[in-house]
Symmetry: D2
Subunit: 142 residues, 4 copies
Amino acid sequence: VEGFRFSTDVQVRFAETDAQGIAHHASFLVWCEVARIEWLATHTGGYRRIQEQGIEALTTAAHLRYVRAAYFDDRLTVWARCVDVRGARFRYEYAFERAGELVADGWTAHATVDRLTHRPTRVPVWFVEAVARVESGNGSGG
Amino acid sequence: VEGFRFSTDVQVRFAETDAQGIAHHASFLVWCEVARIEWLATHTGGYRRIQEQGIEALTTAAHLRYVRAAYFDDRLTVWARCVDVRGARFRYEYAFERAGELVADGWTAHATVDRLTHRPTRVPVWFVEAVARVESGNGSGG
Amino acid sequence: VEGFRFSTDVQVRFAETDAQGIAHHASFLVWCEVARIEWLATHTGGYRRIQEQGIEALTTAAHLRYVRAAYFDDRLTVWARCVDVRGARFRYEYAFERAGELVADGWTAHATVDRLTHRPTRVPVWFVEAVARVESGNGSGG
Amino acid sequence: VEGFRFSTDVQVRFAETDAQGIAHHASFLVWCEVARIEWLATHTGGYRRIQEQGIEALTTAAHLRYVRAAYFDDRLTVWARCVDVRGARFRYEYAFERAGELVADGWTAHATVDRLTHRPTRVPVWFVEAVARVESGNGSGG
């Protein structure tokens, strides 16, 4: 997959499979979250740094396309990039690969809100800067 | 919400919440599945009837839009309808309501495949007929 | 099963099964929680009433014995009773039945703590009274 | 913790937390499974090798004791050892540590069964030998 500069690996847990013998489709949404958290840990001070500023990042939309089934014990590479940061909103895009084959892709949309009131609050400047630094040169795709 | 003729209720479990104090966004994907299964149980012989014909219905895409947070113990009405049945493919659309307010909406896309080979196989006729019978008059929306 | 006066039903969700084709063993722990919540809703003002007093009930131990496999779409009756209320501690016992057959049983232990400090705090009097009222005559079993 | 020779690490996912702000207690059961799978991958040919012989290892009991809460993003060391292998049965014991502090411990019991009939079938010899090789010198504890 092109245009991604960050990836993390997940291994399909037995608890994440279902009676069709494959990874349950909701598991991919959890793995997207794992990749976002890891992106934040690598490129900023981690999600806790957002929380320490009294901010939570809510998920406002999610889109997944399943191309191939994933199986128990498969090691998947989850590519992730942060795009479209504007005001209190940003998006992440993902591609799941197994041995170089595309397994799934998708995106999630997020909004930063005040932790107590849940009112929209601008994405912290250091986050905007981290995205600019990390993702510059990426096409937004999506 | 308009255009839906079927709904089922789910109650937000404690295990489905997260440290933001709200229902985790992946839980909605599980509730979509609960609604599909219940739709099938109500309008056809249930998912097991599909399986008994050596067929599995895979999820090929999912899209969710989160409008309001859901909380522990909330009772959500999940509206569901089956649309766009063609060949080996069909979609479900969903709207989540709490006390008349829209909490989330979305859709999932599915493909019927042979249980053993995972090759595409046409949606059973009785399923096509059930959709025609139940959803006639629905706008497909999307 | 004997000695139980309360039960609630759960239906095995597809997402709760695993690649062995059966309900994943961790799902039972979630269903125990569903039964506790329902017990509280039926016999007291619900778990939210505990929370409103600035108290959380933590789980301090869990024990499950799996006798028969449960399958997708199975309707299980979860019998639950509250026992051994003392100070800041109480236990729940469970039995899972399908069509009169024992599927699993077990217990969970809990401690009430202050919501902010997580320090032990006595179980509210109205909870003690509810247990006495509901479970009197039960053997504690275990 | 003493008597363990194998450990693997898990990091608490956001999806694994609940509205109490801590890791949900059922998550620990999933992490036990992750540790067993990793134990098998390290010391034998992995769980798939068991499956390839037409055998499944069912979980017949589980016991967990929660000593301290675990939080989002915590890195936990899961110590695991296989004990009490007899006929078609074996157990695993676990201890969860965070920065040298005990967070939880417990055990799970398992039975090997024929994959199709679910009838008890002896634990494969190579598994018995792997346990003898890896765990020799361990006290069984439990």
